[in-house]
């Protein structure tokens, strides 16, 4: 009793402005409150914290979780990428989840399939799909062949589709769209042939383009163009936008995190810091106008997309209440910025790395040229897969910790193409050796408070709850629960294969569920007590 009251108080104080505000036009207010009976966006809410206020499952009873149901995808042999690598949404008792070209709706209580939609593909990379967005009666998702598709959420029938990128240029679609106000935000993927990345805002009713923000300036006089040698380099400059954006309704800012510049490894024809690749950028949600930027990976040459989720939270630092944004970036750096202006408060490694020479005046890391890819090889840490990657992190306002599944790897980066005008990749890394661990970072100091090693490796998304439980995939094909305060292992269950997404939770009829994807199977656990 006392405990839950205390939690409520803590919650309302800590969650603060981010979640308790105005309702967007297109969706009930639940998109902004910490989700309880639903999981209505990729990250649960707009903040990217993947924090659930639910307490029915707690650190003391998590050992009693039991299997509620499982749903196994049944598609013909040879179907590419049958792996649930996205986060399901749960709205009004229905779960919506994807793999490339496919969307399913199942009953959130029983797992019964309600409908299945399949898209006839014209091609594109089928690697993973991060899921859907829902507004009103429409569900949105991206296809590998560059379409934004809108489905009727009741039947799964297509309402319309709109091309959002050019398949001929080797773009593809994979990211989960995010809906806020009267905008559907869609990003693009593609690292094959030197193309510029962008973020679109589209009309939820029609898919028509409202605005497009180019990650890399496209003309010589535009902001950031002084960090590129010429217009040709910018027009082929990369910077993909393959992680769902976060959004602050009060500031009306969309936070987009951007991928590596292109050519990816060879870089002679893109001297400079290559803005706004490898950056966290705040855009006005209605106009797409850039409000501030911070480059977490200047002049990247290691394929370290800095697209990791930028997590929004409020906290008091040095006696000052602050609106903050944090990222654990693929290059091993953890940043906490003021999200009203992009000013860095913390810049610090969350795993040991060997490629930087410290930080500039803005708190951005300075790459060491000696650790750029070399013809005879440079030993670099982290490796290409990065210290963090796409699996979503989590943040708990109750523990004051930012959680990320991290990896400390080493590999040798080779430059293959010494041409003055390289293209594509022009090199790659070979390796290597790596250790996997979960890092719990104190977001007020940037210090790693505890580390939970994964013997044999793990790379899954995270969920943290007010019940003081942290859920993620472990190293033995298991879904694991850790004490969110201490990192102590509490419970686990072995699945068919390793966890391939970020777990979610919701409470229906007083029962709290935990849903996690592992390969072709969605597993749902429930607290029966």
């Amino acid at each position: 009793m006392k405990r839950s009251l205390l939690l409520c108080l803590l919650l309302s104080a800590a969650v603060g402005t981010l979640v308790a505000r105005s309702a967007p036009h297109v969706e009930p207010a639940q998109q902004l409150t910490g989700p309880t009976d639903s999981w209505p966006t990729y990250n649960g809410d707009y903040s990217g914290r993947r924090f659930s206020p639910l307490t029915t499952i707690s650190a003391t009873n998590v050992g009693s979780l039991s299997l509620a149901w499982m749903y196994r995808i049944n598609l013909p042999q040879g179907t590419p990428a049958v792996r649930i690598a996205g986060t399901p949404l749960q709205i009004n008792g229905v779960l919506y989840f994807t793999i490339p070209d496919h969307v399913w709706a199942t009953d959130a209580r029983t797992g019964r399939e309600l409908w299945h939609h399949a898209w006839t593909s014209k091609g594109g990379i089928h690697l993973g799909n991060r899921g859907v967005a829902v507004a009103g009666e429409l569900l949105y998702y991206e296809t590998p062949d560059c379409n934004l598709v809108a489905l009727d959420i009741k039947t799964g029938t297509e309402r319309w589709h709109k091309p959002i990128c050019d398949l001929d240029q080797f773009y593809y679609g994979s990211v989960a769209p995010v809906v806020a106000k009267n905008h559907v935000f869609t990003g693009v993927s593609g690292d094959d042939l030197d193309i510029p990345g962008y973020l679109d805002s589209r009309d939820p009713a029609t898919g028509e383009l409202q605005w497009r923000w180019h990650v890399v300036p496209q003309k010589m006089d535009e902001p950031g163009s002084d960090t590129w040698p010429n217009e040709d380099a910018m027009k082929h400059g990369g910077g993909m936008t393959w992680t769902p954006v976060t959004y602050d309704p009060d500031l009306n800012l969309v936070f987009v995190t951007t991928g590596n510049p292109q050519p990816v490894i060879a870089h002679k024809n893109r001297k400079g810091s290559n803005l706004f690749t490898g950056s966290i950028v705040a855009l006005n949600a209605d106009t797409g106008r850039m409000v501030w930027w911070f480059q977490s990976a200047p002049h990247d040459t290691h394929d370290w997309d800095a697209t990791q989720t930028a997590v929004l939270f409020d906290a008091t630092i040095a006696g000052q209440p602050r609106k903050l944004i944090a990222q654990a970036s693929r290059n091993g750096q953890f940043f906490v910025l003021d999200r009203t202006n992009g000013k860095a408060i913390i810049s610090k490694e969350f795993v040991k790395t060997n490629w930087s020479l410290g930080y500039d005046a803005k708190g951005q890391p300075i790459p060491n040229p000696a650790k750029e890819p070399q013809l005879d090889g440079a030993l670099v840490s982290p490796d290409q897969s990065g210290a963090a990657n796409w699996p979503p992190p989590a943040l708990s306002p109750l523990t004051g910790l930012f959680y990320v599944n991290a990896r400390r790897g080493f590999s040798v980066y080779y430059l293959y193409d010494p041409d003055d005008n390289p293209q594509g990749w022009g090199g790659t890394d070979r390796g290597g050796y790596s250790e996997a661990m979960l890092q719990a970072i104190d977001y007020r100091t940037g210090a790693v408070k505890w580390t939970h090693p994964w013997e044999g490796g793990s790379r899954a998304g995270l969920l943290v709850t007010a019940g003081n439980v942290l859920f993620t995939g472990g190293a033995s094909n298991d879904i694991a629960a850790l004490n969110a305060t201490t990192g102590a292992a509490l419970w686990h269950a072995r699945l068919n294969t390793s966890v391939s997404n970020g777990p979610i939770t919701y409470q229906l009829d007083g029962r709290q569920y935990l849903v996690v994807g592992a390969g072709d199977t969605l597993w749902t656990f429930v607290m029966n007590r």
């Binding site: 590419p80 490339p100 014209k122 990379i125 297509e158 001929d168 030993l379 080779y414 293209q423 594509g424």
Partner: protein
């Protein structure tokens, strides 16, 4: 698209029967392999390069295009990079390239219209081949070269001194003897930084295998090859080949031994110069 519940089609991407038929017709019409999985980068109806055509196209290229667009078609001061151009990306079998080039004045001074359709098709093959070399990280095309930049003498000194390699290896016996004759320089570099745990035919190399010793609060210690370990259980294979799992408790002592630990620690300290010196020395062990 359509709502599909149970589909049994060998053609991958959730096609309805009608769509499969349609797509196959398109693919066949474009001279492609029917039934190809449309899951790679770019469009499913990509131009398919004919190698002999590309070879003929290279000759036309050298005669009519090279001075402006360069050997690799990446451009010069007189003409732009073609490999990333929309004309080429949209092109299938010269359907875009042909009309565009016909408007060009060629290297020989002749008009573009003097090229035959067959020549234009060959040029299309040649240019798509250049583009394909870039795709897939260019791994099939480029190779790491020039890895032998180190100093053999410095490498020998490191191996016998600061590197402490000779505590486990000698240059004349075991895995290092004659190693320079067995591997290319880049493989030598990879193998000494990250020794593989497997040997020939992917069989486990017992000298590089992680072992574990489990000691219960009461009872004898059990050792074996580590199979799996997490917070809850540890599984090993004992000398008799028996798989044994122990539930982990605070009183169960678990000790892991990794013969490659020294190699992993080396990654923390070795400089790129030392790394290249060691490779030069290893390459000399023939």
């Amino acid at each position: 698209m359509s709502k599909v519940n149970a589909m049994r089609s060998p053609f991958a991407v959730g096609f309805t029967a009608a769509a499969v038929a349609l797509t196959m017709a398109t693919l066949v019409a474009q001279g492609q392999q029917p039934g190809r999985v449309l899951s790679g980068p770019g469009p499913g109806d990509k131009h398919v390069v004919d190698a002999a055509g590309a070879d003929r196209g290279r000759i036309v290229w050298a005669a009519e295009c090279i001075t402006c667009h360069g050997t690799q078609a990446r451009g010069t001061d007189r003409g732009p990079n073609v490999t990333r151009s929309l004309v080429l990306l949209r092109d299938r079998n010269a359907n875009e390239l042909g009309p565009f080039v016909k408007k060009h004045t060629l290297q020989s001074g002749r008009p573009g219209t003097s090229l035959t359709d067959a020549q234009l098709l060959d040029l299309s093959h040649f240019l798509h081949q250049r583009m394909n070399e870039i795709l897939g990280k260019g791994i099939g095309f480029f190779k790491p070269e020039g890895v032998l930049t180190g100093d053999t003498t410095a490498g020998a000194a490191f191996i016998n001194g600061a590197g402490k390699c000779t505590t486990c290896h000698t240059a004349t016996a075991g895995s290092l003897s004659g190693i320079g004759g067995r591997y290319t320089p880049v493989d030598l570099q990879q193998r000494f930084l990250f020794p593989p745990r497997t040997g020939r035919g992917n069989a486990a190399n017992p000298r590089a295998t992680v072992t574990v010793t489990v000691t219960p609060a009461s009872g004898a210690a059990v050792s074996g090859v580590l199979v799996q370990m997490d917070d809850f259980d540890v599984t090993l294979r004992d000398a008799g080949g028996v798989i044994r799992t122990f539930h982990r408790t605070p009183t169960l002592k678990v000790t892991k031994t990794d013969p490659l630990q020294a190699h992993h620690l080396l990654l923390e300290t070795i400089t790129d110069k030392q790394m290249h010196d060691v490779v030069a020395y290893l390459a000399s062990l023939k």
